[in-house]
C-alpha cells in the first residue's frame, strides 16, 4: 500500500524583489510504499528542500497534490496542520533542532506532551526506543553536554516516539563525523527493518547507499531512480556514483 503519493507536484516561487517567477519543482511524481526506505538525492538547488517542505506540509505546492495514506495534505485544515504533522510525521534535521532548555528526555517527550499524552504512556514509549538507540544513559543530559552523534540519535528518538507513519529526514548525516554517520545509518536500517517507513533527503552517496530505493532529482523533476534489489551497500554506492557522474556531466534522462 502506498503510504505517500506525490502527483505532479509543482512549485513556483515569485521573487519578492522584481516579481520574477522561479520554478523550484516542475513536475514531481512518485510513491513511497509502506515499510520502504527511500532516499532522494540531488545537488544544491535541485529542489530537494522544497520537495521535503511540501511533503512535510510546511509548504503548499503550486500545482499537483500530495497524499498521505490517501488523504490529501491540502485538505487538512490550517488549524489542524500542526496536530496532523506531529501525529503522522517524524522529523530528523541536519542541525538536530534540539532545544537547549530541555534535557534529551524532555526533547524526546516534546511531541508527546504536545499531543497530551500521560507521563506514564510517554515513559513506556521512550524506554525501548532509547535502548535501541543507545541513549538510555544520556537521557538526563542537556544537548550541549553530548556529542553531535548523540544529539542526532536523540533527535531520531524524538521522531520515532510519536510512532509516525513516515519519518522525514533532511540531510541527517550532514553535521556528523564518519563514525557517527555509520552509527546513524545503521540505526536507520534497523528501524526500517522493524517496519518504519523512512524518506531521506541527502546529497551524500554514502547515506543514500543504505536506502532501499534512491530517487534522483534534477531541475525540479525526478530524473532517475534505482532500486537496491539484492545489491550490497557497496554495489549500491557504486550505482549511485555512476548516476551522479552522469548527472554532473549532463546525461539524458533514462529509466
Amino acid at each position: 500500500m502506498a503510504i505517500l503519493e506525490a502527483k505532479g507536484v509543482q512549485k513556483i516561487y515569485t521573487t519578492r524583489f522584481d516579481g520574477n517567477q522561479v520554478q523550484a519543482l516542475s513536475n514531481v511524481s512518485f510513491t513511497v510504499e509502506q515499510g520502504e526506505y527511500v532516499a532522494i538525492m540531488g545537488e544544491s538547488g535541485s529542489g530537494k528542500t522544497t520537495l521535503l517542505n511540501i511533503l512535510a506540509a510546511l509548504d503548499k505546492p503550486t500545482a499537483g497534490e500530495v497524499l498521505l495514506e490517501g488523504r490529501r495534505l491540502a485538505s487538512v485544515k490550517e488549524r489542524e496542520i500542526s496536530a496532523f504533522r506531529r501525529d503522522n510525521l517524524g522529523f530528523v534535521f541536519q542541525d538536530f533542532n534540539l532545544l537547549d532548555t530541555f534535557t534529551l528526555k524532555d526533547n524526546i517527550f516534546l511531541p508527546l506532551v504536545l499531543a497530551g499524552k500521560s507521563y506514564k504512556e510517554m515513559n513506556r514509549r521512550l524506554q525501548p526506543i532509547a535502548k535501541k538507540l543507545g541513549i538510555s544513559e544520556l537521557l538526563a543530559k542537556y544537548p550541549y553536554e553530548v556529542s553531535g552523534g548523540q544529539k542526532q540519535r536523540a533527535a531520531v528518538a524524538r521522531a520515532l516516539v510519536a510512532e509516525p507513519k513516515l519519518v522525514l529526514a533532511d540531510e541527517p548525516t550532514g553535521a556528523l563525523d564518519s563514525k557517527s554517520t555509520d552509527d546513524l545509518l545503521r540505526i536507520f536500517n534497523e528501524i526500517n527493518r522493524d517496519g518504519q517507513t523512512i524518506l531521506m533527503v541527502t546529497h551524500s552517496a554514502k547515506a543514500a547507499s543504505h536506502a532501499g530505493r534512491v530517487l534522483f532529482i534534477k531541475d525540479g523533476e525526478v530524473f532517475h531512480q534505482i532500486y537496491r534489489g539484492n545489491s550490497s551497500n557497496e554495489q549500491m554506492y557504486q550505482k549511485i556514483s555512476d548516476i551522479l557522474t552522469l548527472l554532473a556531466t549532463g546525461g539524458d534522462r533514462h529509466e
Binding site: 524532555d106 517527550f109 516534546l110 511531541p111 504536545l114 497530551g116 507521563y119 550541549y144
Partner: protein, 661 residues
Amino acid sequence: MNKGFFPKLAANNIRKNSKTYIPYLLTCIMTVAVFYIVKSLSLNPGLEKMVGAQTLMYTMSMGSWVTALFAFIFLFYTNSFLIKRRKREFGVFNILGMEKRHLAQTMAWESLYVTLIGLVGGLILGIALDKVMFLVITKAIGGEIALGFFVSGKAIETTVVFFIIVFFLIFLNTARQIHVANPIELLKEGHAGEKEPKTKWLMALLGLACVGVGYYLALTVENPLTSLLVFFVAVVLVIIGTYMLFTAGSIALLKLLRKNKKYYYKTKHFTSISGMIYRMKQNAVGLANICVLSTMVLVMISSTSSMMLGMEDILHTRYPNDFVIYSDEGTRERSEKTFADIRALQAEMDLNVTDEIQYTYLAFSSVEDGDTFQVTRSGSLMVMDSITNLIFVPLSDYNAIMGTNDILEEGEILLYSNRKDFDYPVLKVFDKEYAVKKKLDKFLGNGVIAANAANSQFIVVRDMKEMKDLYKKQKEALTDIANKFRYYYGFDTDAGEEEQSRFYTAMMDLLTENGFLGSAESRFDARTSFIGLYGGLFFLGIFLGVLFIMATVLIIYYKQISEGYDDKERFEIMQKVGMSHQEVKASIRSQVLTVFFLPLIAAGMHVAAAFPMISRILALFNLMNTSLYIACTGVCFLVFATMYVLIYTLTAKTYYKIVSR
C-alpha cells in the same frame, strides 16, 4: 578606502540594525534624560526653601550619584545585548576583508552617532519633561510650589561630561571584544548553549526568611518614632529577601514544579517552565530591581499624594480654628484680659467672627504603663514609645463648647485618644483612679498638642477643683519643669484672605506690644507654607515616581525585545516538531505574563506589608485619614498596573512578531 566611507558605513549599520538599535537609542535618550532631571532637581534653588532642605538636598545629590551608577550599569548591559546580536555581522565584515582596526573605526563612528543622538535627545527630553511635570503639578495642586522649573547649566554640563565618558568606555569595551575575537568565533557567537542554573535552596529559604521577618517587623511595629530603626531594618530585609527570592527562589520553585511529572508534562506547562528557568537565570536581578523600584514608587506617590489630598484635614487638626491663641499667662484673669483685647481688635477691624471657643487646659507628659500613667521628673525619656501627653479639661468648658450636657460624678472622666487607643476601664494617674465613663470620638482641637509626635490622651474631668488638684500633684512631681494652666482661645471667621492676613498682622503687633506670654497662629497664614512644603514633597514624589516607572518599563521592554531574538530559534524548532501557532502564542503569553507581572505582584505585597507602618508615619504628620491613604494607595496601584498592562500588550505584540517572523 575614501574618507567618507566609515561614517557612511556606520550610519548605514545603525539604519540596517534599526530593530535592535532603536530600543538602544531610546534607552540612551531616556537614561540621559533621567540623569539630567535628577541632577538638575538636586541643584534646584527651590530645594533650599523647603522644610528639611539640608536632608532633601543631601538625599537628592546622593540620588543623582545612584542614578549615575544605575545609568552606567544599564547602558553597558543594554549595549552588550546589542553587540552580541551583531557579532555575526562583524565576523562577516572581518572575513570579507575588513581589518579589525577598520571595524573599530566603524564602531567609533557608530558610538559617536549614538552619543550625539543620546545626549541631544536626552537633554531636550529631560528639559521638556521637567517643564511639563512642573506645569502639570502646579496646576494640580493649585498653587506655587517651592520647586520651580529650572534649566541648570551645571546639570547639563555634568550630564554631557558623564555620558561622553560612559559612551567612550562602552566603545572601548566593544573595541576590546572585537580585538580579542577571531572571525570564526564572531560568526559562531550566540550559538553557544547556556547552562542550566543551579538550585540554591539555602539562598531561597534565606530569602523567604528575610521577607518573612521583614514583613513581621513592619506589621508589628507600634510607634513609628521609636521604631524607625526597626522599620529600616525591615525594609533592608525585604529588599535583600526580594533579590534572593527572585534569583534563587524562583528557580527553586520552577525546578520543584518540573519535578512534578504530572504537572510538568502538560502542553501548557512544559515549554513555559523550562523556558522560565532560563529566563529567570538571566532576568532575576532585573526583575527584582523592577520590584524594588515599583515598591518605592508606589509608596512614594501614594503617601505624598494622600498627604497632598489630606492637606485640609491635616491643616484642621494642626490648626483647629482660623485663629488660635494659646495663653501661658498663668491665671485665668490675665488670659481673659488678652482675649478681651483681641475681641476689641476684632470689633475695631470689623472682623466678622462666626464661631469662637475658649477653654482651660492642663497638659503634662507621662510614661504609660498599662492603665497607669506615671509622672516623674526623672521619668526615663528613653522609653519614647510609652510617652503620653495627658491633657485635662474641665467638664464645664467641654460642655459649653461641644454643646453637650454630659454629667460626671466624682472620679469619672470622659476620654479621647488621638493616636493610640486606651483599652482599660480605669485610668490611673498619681494616686487617683478615674473610671472612664465614655470614650469620645471628637474633641476640642488643640494644634500644639497635635504637632507633638507623642500619643495624647484628652481627659475631661468633673470640675476646676479636680483640675487644681491635678495641678498641685503635678507640681509636686515635676517641680521646676511643671506646667501651668493654659488657656485656649480660638475663633473662626468668614473674612477673605486679605482681611485675615491684615488681621493676623495687627493681632501679632498687639500681642507683642502687650508682652503676651504664649503663642498665636493663623490657619490661613499656615496654609501657604503647607502648600509649599507638601507640594514640594508631592512634586518630588510624583516626578521621581514617574521617572522610575518609565525607566522600569523601558528595562522590561528592552529585555523582552532582546529576548525575542533569542527565543525565535527555540520557537522555530517547536513549530517544526509540531507545535501549532496557537500553542506557541499561548506559551509566549504565559511566560511573558509571568515575567511581567511577578514584580508587580511582589511590589503589591510589599506595599500592603508597609501599609500599617506608612499610615502611622503619616499620622505623625497629623494625617489620620486612613481611608484616604487606602484610596490613594489603591488608585496609585491601579494607575501603575494599567500602565504596566499597556506596556505588556505592546511588548507581547512586538515580541510575538519577532518570534513568529
